[in-house]
Amino acid sequence: MALSGVQIFKLLPKTNCKKCGHPTCLAFAMKLAQRQVSLDLCPDVSEEAKKVLGEASAPPIRSVTLGAGDKAVKMGEETVLFRHDKTFVNQCAFAVEVKDTMSADEINAVVDQVLGSEIERVGQKLRIDAIFVSNASGDAGKFEAAVKAIAAKAPEVPLILSTTNPAAAEASVKAVAANKPLLYGANKSNVDAMASVAKTHKVSLGVAAEDLDGLTELTDKIKELGVEDMVLDSGARTAKEIMRDNTYIRRAALKKGNKSVGYPVITFAQRDDVMLETLIASLGVMKYASIIVMSSIDRWKSLALFTLRQNIYTNPQVPLQVKQDIYKLGTPTSDAPLLITSNFSLTYFIVSGEIEGSKVPVRLAVLDTEGLSVLTGWAAGKFTAAKIAQFIQESGIEKEISHKELIIPGYVAILSGSIEDKLPGWKITVGPREANGLPAFLKARTN
């Protein structure tokens, strides 16, 4: 829990020596409480104060990184329970399970799928983030061979190495230690040996408990053993358990300052029914998982989950925006209608959806209104005659089309005269107010 300025003051030397650059220890303590300065500025602080203050100033959910390099995934550091309060910080990672009992060809096929999973949606690059390698065979040699083969083929993809056998853990972690894999599988019977492997190779440790009590005991013990970076598995497997444990963990860390569970969470979604697996993974996206392990990653499934993750992790205060451009919907000929709208993604999606539904090919000009809708953009001076005229002129669209008619949203009918003034030779037509009026409007024009 965060300490108050007065609580911090009590831990300082109280000499008012000014070496930290502040007039008094109390002033320094106040700044520390607001997390505006670092404790390092005080040359005389005691070891005990460092320990207490260091713990108090740590984020409630520890930052842990999965993997190394460009494809590394940052996890943890979350600050809220609900996305409308503040943007969720670090997007959850999607991982696919590969078992060391699978044939080399089968393993290769999954790795290929992961490597080819990257897509772009609304300006973001999305991909399957990690491979979860499980020691299903129980054989250390087989496991090491599988891990090495995957790392050789996909050296940049973060790995989660799942085994409860410390000897298998040691060999496989050693082989790929530079990639900073997550070693998953410290439980109550192997905890000392697994913590030792994680500590030796400086990798993070996944903690596999049977319930939340057991989880707390394990993380406390592992911390004592000198491993700080952990990922939590409370043992939750059904949707009901995932909902309960992930909520408890997030709440306890954020609202109760419970450091024992202040770590990222791994959620297992594997099901025989792939559609159900998709929904369990969806639950993980919404309810606080940092890693979601799945048994397969077909493209349709990845696309749905990427999209959900984007929806959940987007900043609720800053609307998603579409790039300013003139978009072709269908295959418009040179005499197809030209419409204009704002770049608020919701506006764009609804308008383009209605147009596509109408099957009438058009060109849709999307003006950068900084993510405001048409009417709000107009009121805020972002959807104005001058901006529309400038955009149309600079777009060079005049050379591409055989007419000079621009259809504007009905809500800004008032702009039609001034746009005509600023775009000589153009005819401005007022379209429907709502997007759902577009199909009828467009069809009436073609008839």
Binding site: H84, T216, M243, L283, K301, L308, L346, G353
Partner: protein, 312 residues
Amino acid sequence: MAFTAPNETFGGKVFQIDAGIDKKIVFGGEDVLPFHLFEGNVPNRPVVAYEIQDVPPEDWPETIKKVYEGVSGDPVTWAKYCQDKLNAKAIALRLIGTHPDRQNRSPEDAAKTVKDVLAAISIPLIILGSNHVEKDAAILLAAAEAAKDKNCFLGKAQEENYKTIAAACMANNLKLIAMSQLDINLSKQLNILITQMGFEKENLVTDPMCSGLGYGLDYTYSVMERIRLAALTQNDATMQMPMLADVGMNAWKAKEAIATEAELPIGGVLEQRAIAWEAVTATALMIAGSEILIMRHPEAVKAVEKFIDELM
């Protein structure tokens, strides 16, 4: 050290509501956040209603249209198919053919369709207009008379037409769905306006306006979460109505539910993609707080029901 469960209990509770005569559906009634069975009472599971319409679904994408081939030509056959073959718990009849841009069917046509469907099924019926505010006032008035005393839901009442529709509900002993435009305050305001007419707040369902996965789902999700939090933490009786998610019509509008694999190679197989689009949209909105969902594809419904089984 043992883990201390950080349970939270609230002062408020969502109203419980039912529909139907012979085979009833009941939803709402929980006094905690969605599916928080570990800290309170969640007496009912969310209900999925199958969407049908008064006219053949010519505008539905191929993947969903083909599921109802042979039965969707007539709403009675379609409704019976959902009830008898798909084991639907409820039917949502959308009178889309009454829209002036569609067949512009009359209030009399709508009333007859409602009567015929009601006569053919024993499960509860949700009667929906075409979302044309002027036309809906007339259509839903006629539909309400046709459904008198059948304990149906009627909607959607909006700011522009709620008076007529709410009055029709009261006169015919029906329950009402009130839709506002993706804003917690507008939703609250419409609930207040409707209850000020003397409409019982316990007979009201809120539709904060649904959106599909990738197409504004984030807005609906947060508006629903905020409505539910207000209902529970502030014990605000004007926000304690169960929430409706009109999932099918939004999910099946998405490009991802329509485009073939050739048109959208990053999306993989169309059929599964489209089903997932509907099922994931429904799942997200249930987690956000929706208790009654209107859906189209039987496979999406099946997955969602299995998911609820695991959650409850």
